[in-house]
């Protein structure tokens, strides 16, 4: 990683929940190391029970880590006092999945938006009102929205309001916990674009928690894949989403159907998808995925090794073999998509017609070439 | 199973302890005491010596914990003390009255359950106008004070048309038919509110279950409505209804106090009222103990029925 000091640094993070009634404690997160640089988007991907939401909650201070540490801007906030936590809310904010649930239906939008100001700033009513109006502008809503109630807005608008609330105090880190999962496709695109624009304008860092690899691939600089509380694979978005090494990452990618029948028929022939999804994950020191893994060997029960690679890691016993064959093979299976060409044209036009947003300058322009459109050499 | 039994035992003992300690503490707060009550019941004037003598005999000159210990000791030997006025052992006095009270309460619970569940299910399934009608009638049933309703019933069904006896109680052992006839008016009077209460709760619980997803699924599998309503929905709605039947039972302990007075039925409630107005504290303590034991047994039955209705669902 770069020489820039990370904004958020998580190391050796382990969270266990007591379950009571003589059942063993549940390990939601197991020895997780992650960093988020200023202005960067780190996505955490996983299925239910992967611990991705626990990770977000630990950063927000909603759960207390069992071991490990969380540093924010160089400060150890693992066991911050309640007072300090309240101060930190100025810098670390959150957007939840459910826009309907995250706004009190009995309070006007203005009342909700001014809450962070009441907690952190000393302002008079007029100043607060001005701040609220500015916040609504920022997320592309009318100023008169402040006087209305959440029931009068659609899901996409409510999510804009939730983002406006999170940005009231100009935080540096925004935790997006499945922030677009509940939204319809067309609205999802609006919100993703808004998040991107805000990052560009305000230099925000995102900890983007999601189960949707297509979205993650689009928004992230780097991606971390969690399975049953353990990091399976991390790396740049292109490394993880286009050349996955870990069998679990491959299973995730192969399982998500793509909106293109021709390509999907080709992918369906793959036998990459995970097996026996009803099998519960292993909780010992070995690979938690081994019962479902199509590459599993006996030695996968040995303690899980971690292989570091360029800008990331892969936790797999068969890293050596998979790293050399995997990426090429997968890429070839994807191949070209002639059927999608006319559509790509349509979409480009709609982009021009309806979306006047500038493409933000990104530090990672180099990685822009969309991988599936090229036919890789074997 | 062991855990559940343990929990039940612990909560039962806690309840008994709480009720008996509460009655003791309250009686210690009372202005005057049993000795005063007895003496003023017997003579118009008495000397302080007589008073102290009687206090000593009754053991109420000792500190409260000692008195409570003494009472507990007696309890372990099957004694709840003696009636201040008649000198009769309290257990004996109350055992003789248990039958009448339980007949009324159990009769009311059964009648309320039958009428209430039937009406509630009908109202939930049909909704619309019948639902509104059930709502209105049940509100009327809830609103009519049972003591007032019993007076009206006596006036109509006993005085004008002598269908049932106006007052009194015939033990089942003496005359089963007379027993039924003597129970009719008290049970009807109490069931008006009871069945309305159960009907409303059944309707709400059923309406809630009927709006759940699995009802749509069961209908889509082609199961007949009869099975969906009476087998699936009713069983899912049963837990809140059974809980409320338990609460109704406990509440009826209070109802009997009024009803037994109106109908001059020699039951626990009538005894409690008499004891209360004469400051006969040992008797009230005895009634409290009996009532607490009844509550414990009812709670046990309710808990057991939860297990039978749905092993997975916890007590709400």
């Amino acid at each position: 990683m770069s020489a820039v000091e990370p904004l958020l640094e998580i190391s050796g993070l382990t969270v266990t929940y007591r379950r009571g009634h003589g059942r063993p404690p549940l390990t939601a997160l197991n020895n997780v190391d992650l960093t988020v640089a200023p202005g960067e988007t780190l996505s955490v991907v996983g299925e239910s029970g992967s611990g991705k939401t626990t990770l977000g909650n630990a950063v927000l201070g909603l759960v207390t880590p069992t071991t490990g540490s969380i540093y924010f801007a160089g400060e150890d906030i693992t066991a911050a006092s309640i007072r300090r936590r309240r101060q930190l809310t100025e810098n670390i904010q959150v957007v939840f999945q459910d826009p309907h649930g995250s706004l009190n239906p009995a309070r006007t939008i203005g009342q909700t938006l001014e809450e962070p100001l009441l907690a952190h700033r000393t302002m008079n009513r007029a100043q607060r009102r001005a701040e609220v109006a500015a916040a609504l502008d920022r997320v592309g809503l009318d100023r008169d929205a402040a006087a209305r109630y959440p029931a009068e807005f659609s899901g996409g608008q409510l999510q804009r309001i939730a983002i406006a609330r999170a940005l009231m105090l100009s935080p540096r880190l925004l935790v997006c916990d499945e922030a677009v999962s509940a939204l319809d496709l067309s609205i999802q695109a609006q919100i993703l674009n808004l998040l991107r624009q805000l990052q560009h304008d305000l230099g925000l860092s995102y900890l983007f928690i999601s189960h949707d690899l297509a979205v993650v691939r689009h928004v992230s600089d780097r991606v971390a894949v969690l399975y049953h509380g353990r990091l399976m694979e991390t790396g740049t978005a292109t490394d993880v989403c286009d050349q996955p090494v870990h069998p679990y990452t491959r299973a995730l990618l192969a399982s998500a159907p793509v909106p293109d029948p021709v390509e999907q028929r080709r992918r369906r022939a793959d036998e990459l998808a995970a097996k026996h999804t009803d099998a519960s994950p292993r909780t010992d020191a070995g690979c938690p995925f081994r019962d479902r893994c199509s590459y599993a060997l006996d030695r996968c029960a040995d303690p899980l090794p971690v292989h570091h690679r360029r800008a990331g890691l892969v936790a797999c016993h068969r890293y050596g073999e998979l790293a050399s064959e995997g990426s090429d093979e997968l890429a070839e299976r994807r191949g070209e998509r002639p059927a999608s060409e006319p559509l790509a044209r349509t979409s480009a036009q709609i982009t021009e017609d309806r979306d006047g947003l500038d493409t933000p300058a990104r530090s990672d322009q180099v990685r822009q070439t969309p991988m599936p459109r090229t036919t890789p050499a074997r | 199973m062991i855990r559940a039994t343990g929990r039940w035992l612990a909560s039962s003992i806690a309840l008994l302890f709480a009720v008996t300690v509460l009655t003791f503490v309250l009686s210690a707060l009372a202005p005057g005491d049993a000795a005063k009550a007895m003496l003023s019941g017997q003579t118009t004037s008495y000397t302080p010596e007589q008073y102290q003598q009687l206090r000593h005999e009754l053991g109420i000159d000792q500190p409260l914990p000692a008195q409570y210990w003494h009472w507990l000791d007696g309890l372990l030997h099957g004694s709840l003390g003696t009636d201040l006025f008649s000198g009769q052992p309290i257990t004996q006095a109350l055992n003789g009255r248990l039958g009448a009270s339980l007949s009324i309460i159990v009769g009311t619970v059964i009648l309320s359950a039958l009428v209430g569940v039937a009406v509630g299910v009908f109202s939930a399934v049909r909704g619309g106008l019948p639902g509104k009608l059930v709502n209105a009638v049940s509100l009327l049933g809830l609103a009519a004070p049972n003591f007032w309703l019993s007076l009206v019933l006596v006036e109509l069904l006993a005085v004008r048309y002598a269908v049932f006896p106006a007052t009194g109680y015939t033990a089942f052992g003496e005359d089963p038919l007379g027993w039924l006839r003597s129970l009719a008016l008290p049970v009807i009077a109490l069931s008006a509110g009871g069945s309305a209460f159960i009907a409303r709760q059944t309707r709400d619980a059923m309406a809630d279950v009927l709006s759940r997803d699995f009802i749509v699924s069961l209908r889509a599998y082609g199961l007949p409505l009869r099975s969906i309503i009476f087998k699936h929905a009713l069983r899912n709605a049963a837990i809140p209804v059974v809980t409320l039947l338990g609460l109704l039972f406990v509440g009826l302990l209070g109802g009997t106090v009024l009803i037994e007075t109106v109908f001059a039925i020699p039951g626990l409630g009538q005894q409690a009222v008499a004891a209360s107005s004469t400051h006969n504290l040992p008797m009230i303590e005895g009634v409290a103990f009996y009532f607490a034991v009844i509550v414990i047994i009812v709670n046990l039955l309710v808990d057991l029925s939860y297990g039978w209705l749905n092993p997975k669902v916890r007590k709400p």
Binding site: E115, D184, A189, A339, L343, T346 | A14, G222, K312
Partner: protein, 640 residues
């Protein structure tokens, strides 16, 4: 948890439940419930009359006139006189003062104990919660009457003490409800967000918790008032509190009436009526507030409406064209829920053995269409036009009983949330066997065979379990097995994999595809996910705002969409997007039912809209072989 809450059920919900704000709740409750308004008015009048009893009472309540004892109602004594010739109306008014005062004392105690303890327990949780709940359970189990009698015995003549005891005895119910509501609100995201905004606990309680629990508190309070009134008058009736010697109360007036009953039963009437009316008034107000908070109750439409029998238009029409008779043919379907049209002019065919997908965003009417086919519309929903021809029969013309014979062997259904579509109280075996018995009474070991068919390992173990013991994927397999029990010709799958993880989804989709081919069953798949559609279906029906906007083979649809909505939606999919560039998005949101514009429903969001788009209804027209589009500018779309 990857709780992917798609809003497919939102349409059903938003039409049924109007969201009311708590501050306006009482007002709305009274406005929509005239009876409750009357009750509230009566209570107010009663309180004023009681307060001003000494002014408005026609006579001194204690003034005796033995000569006129037990007179019936007359001009001088509107409600008659009692045994001592005292004016009943005056006694009622003065009695109300006493009785209502007692009820007020009990209610104040009830609120003062129940609300703070409930909020503290619900918000703090932990040991405080456990302690308070134990205590409440204990008080709930104590036979209240014994405590009241004790208090009467211990504090003779001190009626306030009895009322305080009554308040304490009544508060466990309130406490539990306040605690439960507080807990629920504490778990709400908006409270979490407020906490993460840096708001302190008192501010959160004041701004977020208290306003939200006021509804339940009002309901409980009104019910408690009713209960306290009954208890107070009962005790007074027995002479234990408020004895007659201290002046009239409603309870001792009933006692007085009972003494005079043998001579004149009339006296029972005025006091009884006053008691009943007051208790009912409290009950009505409570019911109305509760109903408006929950948007249901006696006014809700029946859950199992009698299906109105349509005129059978014409015998099932022979389908023109390539000679294949579709297994299901929906023609011009229109559905209203609570009077609002949510689906209109929906037509499509499902050929035998084929998989057809209905795709669209939330609120576009996909689920309503599926449920209309099965005749399982939510309460208040009716098919107001169109036909659903299955196997030569118009299902909309059948009675529910006739339709029930189609459900299962004809059309089966699996729903979005497998965990909640199984009855939680019965074992899998019991439910599955009940469905099997219904359709094939003779079959033995059919349950095991079906579970093996859906590739569940160890069927015997699964049969013994209850729904809560299954994972989401297993539960969906069980649901599929139950749907297959009657060997249906058509399976309607409403978002069957939306609640599942992506790897589990892949397995379920593969299973559905396999079953479709092996059993020769047609599938109508409802989804919002274009990937699922591409994976599973041969043809697609795209819905937008209650209408079908495009129908085509899936390959053709994805390659060359002929409706601007389809094209835009496909483009908005991040799978196709170029990294580092904004996603092509559609501005605005789907218009809600009832807010549809004239003409094209997509016009306000369309990139190629023209004035003509708003002129009038636009027909679904054929743009290519097997390709229909509801757009007047499809040519434009192809050119561009």
């Amino acid at each position: 948890m990857t709780a992917i809450t798609t809003a497919t059920t939102d349409t059903l919900a938003s039409v049924r439940f109007g969201r009311t704000l708590p501050r306006r709740r009482i007002r709305t409750a009274l406005a929509t419930h005239p009876l409750a308004a009357a009750g509230a008015f009566y209570l107010l009048a009663l309180m004023l009359a009681a307060a001003g009893a000494s002014v408005i009472a026609p006579a001194d309540p204690e003034q005796q006139d033995l000569a006129r004892a037990l007179d019936g109602p007359s001009g001088s004594h509107w409600l008659g006189t009692d045994r001592l010739g005292r004016d009943v109306l005056s006694r009622l008014l003065f009695g109300a003062r006493v009785t209502l005062f007692d009820v007020a004392v009990a209610t104040v105690v009830f609120l003062a104990v129940g609300v703070p303890l409930g909020i503290a327990a619900g918000y703090r949780g932990g040991w405080l919660d456990r302690g308070v709940v134990r205590l409440a359970d204990l008080v709930l189990a104590v036979p209240g009457i014994v405590v009241l009698l004790m208090v009467v015995a211990v504090f003779p003549g001190n009626d306030a003490a009895t009322m305080v005891a009554l308040g304490i005895l009544g508060c466990p119910g309130l406490l539990r409800i306040v605690r439960g509501s507080t807990m629920a609100i504490r778990g709400e995201l908006y409270v979490k967000a407020a906490r993460l905004s840096g708001l302190r606990t008192p501010a959160i309680l004041r701004r977020h918790v208290l306003p939200r629990i006021s509804g339940p508190i009002i309901v409980q309070t009104s019910l408690f008032c009713a209960m306290a009134l009954l208890a107070e008058s009962g005790l007074s009736f027995l002479g234990l509190t408020r004895p007659e010697s201290q002046g009239p109360s409603w309870g001792n007036m009933v006692g007085e009436a009972s003494n005079a009953m043998s001579q004149d039963p009339w006296l029972l009437v005025p006091t009884g009526a006053a008691l009943i009316a007051t208790v009912m008034a409290f009950g009505l107000v409570g019911d109305a507030v509760r109903d408006s908070a929950m948007s249901r109750g006696a006014t809700a439409p029946p859950l199992f409406p009698k299906r109105p029998r349509h005129q059978v238009a014409d015998e099932a029409r022979q389908q023109p064209g390539n000679g294949v008779v579709p297994v299901l043919s929906v023609q011009g379907l229109k559905v209203t829920i609570g009077g609002t049209t949510v689906v209109q002019d929906v037509s499509f065919d499902v050929p035998p053995g084929k998989a057809i997908g209905i795709v669209g965003e939330s609120g576009c009417g996909k689920s309503v269409t599926a449920r209309a086919i099965l005749g399982l519309l939510p309460a208040g929903g009716t098919v107001t036009a169109g036909q659903v021809v299955f196997d030569g029969t118009d299902l909309t013309a059948l009675s529910d009983k006739e339709l029930n014979r189609v459900r299962g062997p004809g059309i089966a259904f699996i729903s979005q949330d497998p965990a909640s579509s199984l009855d939680p109280t019965f074992t899998i075996g019991s439910q599955l066997r009940e469905v099997i018995r219904r359709h094939h009474p003779q079959s033995r070991h059919e349950a095991q065979r079906l579970l093996r068919l859906v590739r569940l390992p160890d069927p015997d173990a699964v049969l013994r379990r209850r729904p809560a013991e299954l994972s989401g994927g297993m539960a969906q397999r069980v649901c599929i097995a139950m749907a297959l029990a009657a060997k249906p010709k058509l399976l309607i799958a409403d978002e069957p994999t939306t609640a599942l993880d992506v790897t589990v989804q892949a397995e379920i989709l593969a299973l559905l595809r396999d079953l479709q081919h092996r059993l020769g069953m047609a599938v109508l798949l409802i989804t919002h996910d274009w990937g699922v559609l591409a994976d599973e279906c041969e043809r697609a029906v795209v819905m937008y705002a209650g209408e079908v906007v495009e129908t085509a083979g899936v390959d053709q649809l994805c390659a060359q969409p002929r409706h601007p909505y389809t094209a835009a939606l496909l483009a908005a999919n991040p799978h196709r997007a170029r990294t580092g560039q904004p996603l092509p998005s559609i501005p605005g949101a789907v218009p809600k039912p009832g807010e549809w514009p004239t003409g094209c429903h997509f016009q306000s969001r369309c990139p190629i809209v023209q004035p003509a788009c708003g002129n009038g209804p636009i027909a679904l027209t054929r743009v290519a072989s097997g390709h229909l589009s509801r757009c007047i500018r499809t040519e434009e779309l192809v050119k561009r």
